[in-house]
Symmetry: C2
Subunit: 385 residues, 2 copies
């Protein structure tokens, strides 16, 4: 007879509980973990051994902190499975690897203009970059997430990207997975992943996180999680109407926020205050509809500095009636947020359910790199020895 399902479930839950404590800000010994979780020391020891064997946890040198046997502080293993973040921008492809502790191990950007391009060439370029980055990072990879500059359906298909007119209904995750020897690749909207990255970097739990780039999008955080709306495509603030009779937008509409506050619009002379005003007007609507207390301006906006921040704050102060004092701040991650969010999403998935990684072992190890030559394609999950 097999073990009852309930015991598997409890063990899996407890593995996550213990790993969550180890991931916390202060180093804990096994005894410390037991005290915090309410599990017995025996149970904790057995779970910790399993996490160490899986490469998720490591033991620091023992420190004598009092009477009795010295306690060994436990930490997340920086050699453990990392997350691969990928990004298709309008004019670049990017890749990075974040390790289990959240540290960025490798990050690279390659210029690649996709405005008049079909997806195939860009995806080949991104897969090659991903392979290089994984080889360089030298970590097993738990999985990848790709950030996309458009509307991503619940099934991970890029349905439409206003700035990439030839990318319509593209299964980007599947296409990349095939090119990366079956590595699981999820897809997400870049603004959503940027919003999660802000949260994971210690930002507010409830906020509209606006990403200013060639397009303008937002991820909406509610209670620390991403608000998806009815259909999973919420947060398209770039197409909130600011000037009903304004300039034509790539989306087919007119006077959208994106026509006034994209980085292209900001490149016009004296545009910063006008863009700030437009952002403040669109955000007034968003705050009234969503009732959020905070706004984070990310992507390229932090480079615009105080004039932009001041204009957004002034507009909100003059127009929002339902809440006093909206907290408006710049992102500390800027244009790296979506890529970091994509990579960290995989690490967060491992931390939330380490049992999944342990069950799926053996995880792929990084490839050998030929002496003096180009790295060989990355060996990824399912392709290990």
């Amino acid at each position: 007879m097999s073990v009852p399902a309930g015991q598997h479930t409890v063990r899996r839950h407890n593995l996550a509980l213990v790993l969550g404590e180890v991931a916390g800000p202060e180093p804990l010994s096994r005894a410390g973990v037991a005290a915090r979780t309410g599990l017995t020391r025996g149970t904790v020891s057995s779970l910790v051994e399993e996490l160490i064997a899986a490469g998720l946890v490591t033991e620091l040198a023992a420190a004598r902190g009092g009477p009795g046997r010295p306690a060994s502080p436990l930490r997340l293993d920086p050699r453990g499975p990392g997350g691969l973040g990928l990004e298709v921008g309008v004019d670049s492809v990017r890749a990075c690897v974040v390790d289990l502790t959240g540290a960025v191990r490798v990050q690279r950007t390659v210029a690649s203009d996709h405005r008049d391009d079909v997806p195939d060439a860009a995806l080949a370029r991104l897969a090659a970059l991903a392979t290089d980055v994984v080889a360089e990072a030298g970590l097993p990879i738990a999985g990848a997430t790709v950030a996309l500059p458009g509307v991503v359906g619940p099934n991970g298909v890029l349905e439409r990207a206003p700035n990439l007119p030839r990318w319509v209904d593209v299964a980007v995750g599947d296409a990349l997975s095939t090119r990366l020897r079956g590595l699981p690749v999820r897809a997400g909207n870049e603004a959503d992943l940027a919003a999660l990255a802000e949260r994971w970097a210690g930002g507010p739990t409830d906020a509209i996180v606006v990403s200013g780039g060639i397009g303008v999008g937002a991820g909406i955080l509610l209670d620390g999680g991403l608000f998806a709306g009815a259909g999973g495509r919420a947060g398209e603030i770039g197409h909130v109407v600011v000037e009903p009779d304004g300039l034509e937008c790539h989306c087919g509409g007119r006077g959208c926020l994106e026509t006034l506050a994209s980085l292209e619009a900001l490149a016009r002379p004296d545009a910063v205050r006008a863009a700030g005003r437009a952002l403040g007007i669109a955000l007034t609507g968003a705050v009234h509809l969503l009732d959020v207390p905070a706004v984070v301006l990310g992507g390229g906006y932090p480079r615009c500095g105080a004039p932009l921040l001041g204009a957004v704050r002034a507009e909100l102060a003059a127009r929002v009636f339902s809440r006093a004092g909206i907290d408006v701040r710049f992102s500390t991650l800027g244009q790296d947020a979506a890529l970091r969010g994509a990579a960290t999403a995989m690490v967060q998935a491992v931390l939330a359910d380490p049992g999944e990684v342990i069950t799926a072992r053996p995880l792929a190890r990084p490839p050998d790199v030929a002496e003096g030559g180009a790295p060989r394609p990355a060996t990824v999950r399912g392709a290990g020895p």
Copy 2:
């Protein structure tokens, strides 16, 4: 020893399960309920007896439908505890009683302009109207909900109503409860309650339900429930900016939807198309932010007919890029929606947890009405003999 807590919980859950089946569209016998719920016939019989004793369920005349003992169809008891709906409008107070089957038993409106008024007089007027309506309905009352034309905090306090400048931080529910002999009175935003009413009347599960009146508000339905936002005050679509340099709004802002699409704005000559355009522009932003597939136009909007509907549809078709074919329709409840929603909210609460009513018994019975005279104040829960 008392019964273990788990048994109470299971019985309470099963009471709701059985009542939910009885509330369904087709009449069921005890055997039918047993077949649908998977409970034993003995358990169902015992639960049904309890629901009948509590006045929630009644038995119709037995109908011979096949061999064996004739089956008695069960129905919700229209004499059972009803819900009291109350509404503070900008220029009226309203009250209605809905019985357990959802039928409106009494509904009354009294003109009462609150624009320059302090709350006390209005609340006295509403409490008197409520007392009359309850007496006339002749039902025990499970509780009341009051619909309010402004921002209602999570604690039920009316924080601010742009069209009632002297109503600031008013604990309307508590004040009415005191005037109604301790009847529980919850408070909700009128547009939120109108949205729930649309849903309960068979409307879409995911929609923005806009209420057009002296103010303009919206209730946002996601997966059949109300979307509250981070702070419980979501849906203030009336203060989405449509014309950044437009007319001053009561809220202190400028060019809000409310300045262009309130019923006062619609009273201007040839304003219907302009209001429809403004609604379409504000809704474009809301659809992009919330990703909802449907819009219901309620309150006074259905009276504006096809020109309004056409203008809203045209604007959305020209501007929304993330979804094809937003379903835009008029409400069938119109200006009664918030009041009906308020009354039905209490009935829905009884159906969701009949154990709560059964535990709280004896419920108040309606008062005697003196021959030829005015009804005496209603006897409500906690004030019974």
